[in-house]
Symmetry: C2
Subunit: 257 residues, 2 copies
Amino acid sequence: MDMQKAAGSGESEGIDRTAFEPVYAQLVNILRRQVASGFLRPGDQLPSEAQLCRRYGISPMTVRRAINILVDQGIVVAEQGRGTFIRPVELGTASFQLQRLQELFEDDPRNTVRLLQARIMAADERTAAKLQVAPGQRVIYIRRLILACDEPTLCHVEYVVYDPARPVVEAEMDVTALRGLFGGAGATMLKHGDLSVEATLLTEEEAALLQASRPAAAFRIEHLFFDFDDRPVSWGWFICRSDRLRFTSRLGLRGAE
Amino acid sequence: MDMQKAAGSGESEGIDRTAFEPVYAQLVNILRRQVASGFLRPGDQLPSEAQLCRRYGISPMTVRRAINILVDQGIVVAEQGRGTFIRPVELGTASFQLQRLQELFEDDPRNTVRLLQARIMAADERTAAKLQVAPGQRVIYIRRLILACDEPTLCHVEYVVYDPARPVVEAEMDVTALRGLFGGAGATMLKHGDLSVEATLLTEEEAALLQASRPAAAFRIEHLFFDFDDRPVSWGWFICRSDRLRFTSRLGLRGAE
DNA sequence: CACTATAACTTCCCTATAGAACTATATAAG
DNA sequence: CTTATATAGTTCTATAGGGAAGTTATAGTG
């Protein structure tokens, strides 16, 4: 091979057979770096699989595996018979991680959950529709206040289907059970859930709880969880001061990496 | 094989060699259905790779590929030497697709972008910091109003680095160029970007533009885009009435699918 | 010029196999 | 009873190769 590129950018890297990092992962990172450094730009064609095999001295399956990873990371798009190309940055691929919210329910002593109210009541029209029960049927009504580092951060309102046969109910009454709803042991009761985020104004009561002055804007994160029979179990929403919790996302590749 | 499960659930499915769907994808869907139907539940162990090979009569590499897909879909977690297990529903895996937002910039005749203001000005303290330029340096200030189906939906404020050498600038002044920023041809100029969502109150001016009565809450989606030298190109934010655009997400698997 | 056939190249799918690395369990020795 | 050791089971990595399906460009034919 005589023809070489400028060789200044990222062409020079190779595979380290002694490294702990698997070969396919090394190739993924090499190509990611070539994209991040601008050596490969959106629309550019990747070297063909056969070329990559020769260039790095690895087997076709290993190359394919690396490229597959890049494909479902959304970094490249492969077109059969044509080639593999770098994808431009798109907005549709943005996803917001909710780990910040998740952390609030971890076993951190600085985070506390205060039970404000818990009683059994008759479901009103809207609640009955959401939980797919008859209006007037008894449901459990729960209100909580979540504090992070002793600062009131979240308000939570939740309606749970009342079913003595279901053991979830008892645990749900517990103050700490909310952690179980999200990732703890109790999550094994839930098959799936829907989330929906909107912006809303704080009510007078919510503002008092969250120690905010009105008028103020806040996130309203509505949730609806189902059991393994696809029947609704729990419906409710979080009210969250925007300055206490922010959703961020990154499009494309970062610079260093 | 004599030992059979209840056989009512999802155990009975097999691989269709004549189908268009690849074998590995068929296996992915079979296992997904077994999770969705409750035949496999969080914490349960998947059959081992060798067992799946025998059960479905396919090669180990194909089974591995299917399992890898399930792993990075977040449906199962594989532990070396132990086994592969169904993951419980977790909040951290939630991601909000922004395709609804993306659609606003598509080539739809019902969506129009109205340029309200565009002029060159000196960067104030905050803008200069975001764009990494000296305070007082000239930047381009743009305000737009985006209408979906003739309803005012989004306000957009944007500051763009003023650099005559950069061809982006001229195009950016164009009213329709905003589409290019997100997924169009212009996106090839951008390497990556940061997004951040918060809840905010509408200002008097914003309320007038969006035909809302105050006080009202809205999303504020801040964006910061970088070029291939990792230098900021554009900083700004969208103001969006919450009832016109909502972010939804699903945790776990849906029922039908 | 228009159209077709061919060849070269690409990605894609699947198989078969070998070993490495890790974990749990049963067994033997102290 | 505790502690090593062996063994079987698991996932994980990597190799080599065969064929299918799609694209593109070229050469040939009408």
